[in-house]
């Protein structure tokens, strides 16, 4: 803040430090002016331009040197299509503060563009002309003039309001509402717009209250088409007839070509690639089958070889048992030799050399083992241990089926253990095979006794 008298910068004191002037009242006025500027700025940001103008004008009435308020006021006038008013504020602002002033930018922008400046001037003249037509009761001409100028200067709020007023006069409320909405979009808080809009809305409501929903829809559609914006035609306008020719659309064609390409690709895959691949798979399958067959055959061969190995193993066991039997026979362990000999399976199948060896000592070893078991069984029989004696004599017969004593004592043991069937079996075997043996008479007596 600067001193009103000497222009020096003012501090907190109520007196100017340079000239000593009393600046207390001056400070209060400037402060109030700034408060109104801030309010105006707030309204302008909310697009309540009418209230913003009120605040800024008050601010300037308090302190006309409030540059920010004046520049903002000019900007708001400009936004409302009042170009001359805007220019006037910026010019005054510039005259009050030549340097570091935003008005420089606004004025420069407007004045540098001569065609726009001329158009602004023309639209304002047209508005004034429309007012003249109204004074002369030429309402239709005024309406045409307003529509023209609003097409060129759509921000002129009072132009929209005047047009709305003319349409209200003709009871064209829907059209009036369209004009008012345009004004409302620029200046939200304008009292004239609000007042007209309230009236128009009520009138429209009254008109529509008796209409059915379908009639209402039809009315709205008609209103919408009637109020569609179209610039009024002038004498220089050229009307071009509609043509049936359609512009080549590269985007659509590109999409169609891509789709065709994809279809062709899919067909190629289906008819060419897929059969070839199927054939290849079949060949691979047949090849794999042949390989598996070969593997199966190989495995079967291995199985048969392993079977042969079993026979080899068996032959080896036979030789092993024969050797062990021979060793036991040499040591006169006849029962031991007999046990090994009994493990040998089909000695004749092993080989001629093996069979000869088996015959050479095997038969003798088994006979001697039988004799040894016969003695052991007799001892048990003598001790009346018939069950044990039976086991030993059965083993004896297994080793040497020609043992003379085994069938007799087995028959007797079974007789004493009350097993008549086995007793008869063995005693008959005894009397039949050894008719001249020493116990034949006794055997017959027992057989007779049993039978």
């Amino acid at each position: 803040m600067k001193c009103y008298k000497c222009g020096s910068f003012l501090y907190e004191s109520d007196y100017c430090s340079a000239c000593g002037a009393d600046v207390s009242t001056y400070k209060v006025i400037v402060k109030k002016s700034n408060e109104f500027y801030n309010k105006g700025l707030g309204y302008a940001r909310d697009r309540n331009l009418s209230r913003a103008i009120e605040c800024l004008e008050t601010s300037l009435k308090m302190f006309k040197g409030n540059i920010a308020a004046r520049n903002l006021l000019g900007l708001i006038y400009y936004e409302m299509g009042e170009y001359a008013m805007a220019l006037a504020q910026w010019v005054v602002s510039k005259s009050m503060q030549n340097d570091n002033n935003m008005a420089d930018y606004f004025l420069g922008t407007v004045q540098d563009n001569k065609p726009d400046l001329d158009l602004m001037s023309l639209t304002i003249r047209k508005y004034n002309k429309a007012l003249t037509y109204i004074e002369q009761n030429n309402y239709d001409l005024a309406e045409i003039q307003l529509k023209k100028l609003l097409n060129e200067n759509p921000h002129l709020v009072k132009g929209h309001q005047l047009l709305a007023l003319l349409q209200i006069r003709k009871q064209k409320y829907a059209e009036a509402r369209v004009a008012l909405r345009k004004a409302e979009r620029i200046d939200r808080g304008n009292p004239t717009t609000i007042s007209y809009m309230t009236f128009v809305s009520e009138e429209i409501k009254d008109e529509e209250k008796d209409l059915s929903p379908s009639e209402l829809r039809a009315k709205r559609t008609a209103e919408k088409s009637a109020t569609d914006e179209r610039a009024p035609l002038s004498g220089d306008d050229v009307i071009i007839p509609k043509s049936s020719y359609r512009e080549y659309n590269p985007t659509t064609m590109a999409v169609i070509q891509i789709i065709i390409g994809v279809l062709i690709g899919a067909a190629i895959i289906f008819f060419i690639v897929t059969p070839a691949k199927t054939k290849a798979l079949r060949n691979e399958s047949a090849k794999a089958q042949a390989e598996y067959q070969a593997q199966i055959e190989e495995l079967q061969n291995q199985i048969s070889e392993l079977a042969d190995d079993d026979s080899v193993m068996a032959e080896r066991d036979n030789y092993k048992n024969l050797v062990n039997a021979y060793a036991a026979y040499i040591e006169e362990d006849y029962t031991g030799a007999a046990e090994y000999l009994m493990k040998i399976k089909k000695p004749e199948a092993v080989g001629t050399g093996f069979a000869a060896m088996y015959e050479e000592f095997g038969t003798a070893a088994l006979r001697q083992a039988g004799e040894a078991l016969s003695d052991e069984g007799f001892a048990l029989y003598s001790d009346n241990r018939f069950a044990d004696s039976i086991k030993v004599f059965e083993k004896c017969l297994e080793y040497d089926p020609n043992n003379e004593y085994a069938p007799y004592y087995l028959g007797m043991c079974y007789y004493f253990t009350n097993d008549a069937a086995n007793a008869l079996k063995y005693l008959r075997q005894y009397v039949d095979n050894f008719p001249g043996a020493s116990h034949v008479d006794e055997a017959y007596e027992i057989i007779d006794a049993i039978e």
């Binding site: 302190f63 040197g65 006037a88 010019v91 005054v92």
Partner: protein, 47 residues
């Protein structure tokens, strides 16, 4: 109810670009509250 004749009186001719300079001079010369204050203060001094 809107009275057209009454309403139309509220619409005034808009400032034309050619008149900007004239209006600017008027605006510049217009008194504000600080001018009034100075006048009052000068009057006091004269007295």
């Amino acid at each position: 109810m809107i009275n057209f004749d009454e309403e139309i009186k509220k619409f005034h001719p808009s400032l034309e670009v050619d008149d900007v300079e004239k209006v600017a001079k008027t605006e510049n010369a217009a008194n504000d509250l600080t001018d009034l204050m100075l006048e009052v203060m000068n009057g006091k001094k004269k007295k």
